[in-house]
Every structure is written in C-alpha cells, then in structure tokens.
Amino acid sequence: MAVYRRTSRPRFTLLLLVLTAVTLLTLDERSNGLGVVDAARDGARDLFAPVKEAADATFSPVVDFLDGALHHGDLKAENERLRDQLSEREATVLRAADAEREREALLDLAELDFVGDIPAVAARVVLTPASGFDVTLRIDKGRDAGIAKGMPVVSGGGLVGRVIDVSRKRATVRLVTDSSSSVGVRISSTGDLAVAAGRGTGSTLRVDLVDPATEVAKGEIVVTSGLQNSAFPPGIPVGKVVAANTAAGALQQDVTIEPVVDLRRITFVKVLLWGPVE
C-alpha cells in the first residue's frame, strides 16, 4: 500500500541543488573564460563532437524533410527572391566588372586592406544555438588551424560574428545578433558611420548614431566600417535595412537591419585570420 506522507527531504534536496547551481553560476562568472568551468565545457564539447557528427549524419534526412515541411513558404519566397536577384545580377555584371577594376585601382592607390586578401580558414558549424537565449555557434576548427580569440567570422553573404573562445580543435563564435555584440558600420549609399548592436533574442540588429537627416532606404546594405582599432575589417556586409524611422525631435534615426547571412541555417563559415589594425 502506498504511504501518504510528506517529509521535508524533497525540499532539502532542492535546496542542495539550488546551492550547487548557484555555486556553478558564481564560478562561471568569476572564471571569466579561463577557469575550470570553461575547461570542463570545452572538454565536454570536444568529447561530444564525434557523437554529434554521427548523429547529424543519421538525422540529416529527417531534418531536411522537416525543415522543408516547416519552412515551405519561406523556401518558396526565397526562390522568388533569388530569381529576381539573378536577373538583376545578369544586368549588372558588365558594369560590375568595370567597377571592380576601378575599385582595385583605388585600393592600390590608397593602400587599403580589403577582405579578399585576408587569409581565412574554412570551418564547418558543428553546434548551432541550443536554446533561444544562446547566440553562439561552435565550429570544427580551433587553435591548431590558427584561429584566435577576436577573429571575425564570415559566411558567403557577409558577417557572422566573432570568435570568443578557442580550444585546440574547436572554436565558439558569438553571432552579431548577440546583445553584447556591437559592430562599427558604414551605410553603403551615404558613407555615414554608425554602430550596429545585437538585441540578444530575436534576429535583427539596431543601428545607432544615424543622423536624422541621412536618407536610409529599406533594403540598403550596411557594411563594416573598419575604422582604426575596429574589430572587423572594412567592407564586410553586415545587414540589410528593414526599417528606418525618425521620431519627432529625436537626435538619431531608429534603424533596424536584418543580418545578410541566415544565421539560423548556417553550415560553413570562414574565420578571417585578422586582428584589429592599431
């Protein structure tokens, strides 16, 4: 027969668990990326990576099927958009070739650096954000491949984020959408300088310091400014303007951009072996 009784043991157990968790939180906060907590995390991730890769390979047909089913509308819209883009590109390709020659000449003249010349390491994304609060990626290259903390990470379309943690064979990348991320940017059409800041959860960035008089069009591309001591080299596309408003009497525009890279479905990235120019 079941015994119906209440004891204080469950509450005592809970208290112990809470105290343990608080201790871990404190250790994590105090270690600041260098302590035993981070070593444990890195070790666990490195240990888990082969299992994850095998599981990814096993589940990839299911993931592809479900992804197609869940995002059928998105894919259809994306196809339309890509078709439009293709026809636009075809029309501009001749002009682009000429502009490219001109740009290279200008860069040579001013001895400016540009992204195409920066050595890069290609890496595969092995862990995507595992909670709605986590705005990081894990990649399959680390210190052994020359990657160091602070290096910019890009994908085909543009900026992905920055390396925040490196082990021998893995690195963690904080995405540009993270609330602690801020990127010096330039509005491509006007050349105005601004700062794009992540919002944490959600997938857009806020652009601060845009003068109310500046004309910012929807769809306009915002690129990294690459000013002195900037954490990113110049000219990397960061995002596309989705909204720009100025409240009456405001000292700056309220500009929102969405990343040019689809950060939710990223498979490969390139880590630029680049550090800020002093």
Binding site: T20, L25, R45, D56, F59, V62, S131, I164, D165
Partner: protein
C-alpha cells in the same frame, strides 16, 4: 525505483536528439526544448525530489552546450522538475491530456523562469516581449512531444507507476 542504468542513457540520448534534431526544428526563434521536457516528465512521473534531481542533471547537460551561464539551465530545470512533481501529487494520471497540458504550462513557465533568473544574474537582455513568444513556442512544441517523452521516461524510471504519492 529509479533505475540509473536506464536513466543515464536516456538523458544522453535526449541530449544527442536535442542537439542534432530538435535545435534545427525552428519555428521563428523557438524550437522544442527536449531537456526541459525531460525535467517535466521526471517531475510528472517520479515526484518532486527525483523530478528536481532529473531536472538538475538534464539542465547540467544542456548547460555544457550553450554559452549562457553554466548552472542556469540546471537551476531552472531542477525548479521546474520539483514544482511539476509537487503539483502532480495526488493527481490521477489516466487522462491522455495531462502530460501535454503539463508540458505546455511547465515548459512555458520554465522558459520564462530561465529568462528571469538570467536577468537576475546580469543577462538583462533575456527579458523582453520576445521572451513570451519564445516561451509560447517552446511550450507548444514540447506539448506535442510530451506523450512519447513521458513514455520513454516511464521506462527509464522503471515503469514508474509509483509516481510521487509517497513523497
């Protein structure tokens, strides 16, 4: 009686499934939170004390693979497992909708609690209107997955019909 022989592989299996399959099943920014659901199922089937222990273990595993503060998921999931276990005491578990409903409410609450606890320890950006959208999405998706997860956890806990009544 709880069988660690079954529970440990089930927890690791859940972690692998979560990392390889469920994190990719996104609707908006939300995806199923399998480890949180394991904590809910633990509370539902094994009572407050073991619910808290299972929640803590599931949370610790989840914490190792995110960049949010280590221990935050463990703390949140332990509390969720405990509360679900306490709330389930005396409930007759025959109706089919009990586990999906519990998963919905507990997962929603768990995500909100995670955000609030995160804000308390300096992650102020966790709390925004978006948090409720995220919690709603996670709650709904976890509710869909509740029945099979509760079944697997029932097996892991040794056919746990003993539930929480003696706690």
């Amino acid at each position: 009686m709880t069988s660690p022989v079954r529970l440990v592989p089930v927890l690791f299996g859940a972690l692998v499934l979560h990392q390889s399959l469920f994190v990719t099943l996104r609707i908006g920014d939300a995806h199923p939170q399998l480890m949180l659901l394991v904590a809910v199922a633990g509370g539902l089937l094994a009572g407050s004390e073991r619910g808290a222990l299972i929640g803590f273990a599931a949370g610790m595993l989840a914490d190792l693979f995110v960049e949010t503060p280590l221990g935050l998921s463990a703390l949140t999931f332990a509390l969720v497992g405990f509360v679900v276990g306490s709330a389930q005491t005396g409930i007759v578990h025959t109706a089919w909708w009990i586990s999906p409903l519990t998963a919905l409410v507990a997962s929603f609450t768990g995500v909100v609690l995670y955000g609030l606890l995160g804000a308390l320890i300096g992650q102020a950006h966790f709390v925004s209107l978006h948090l409720l959208v995220l919690a709603g999405g996670v709650g709904a998706m976890n509710a869909v997955l509740a029945a099979p997860v509760v079944r697997v956890m029932g097996w892991a806990l040794g056919g746990s019909d003993e539930k929480a009544y003696a706690r």
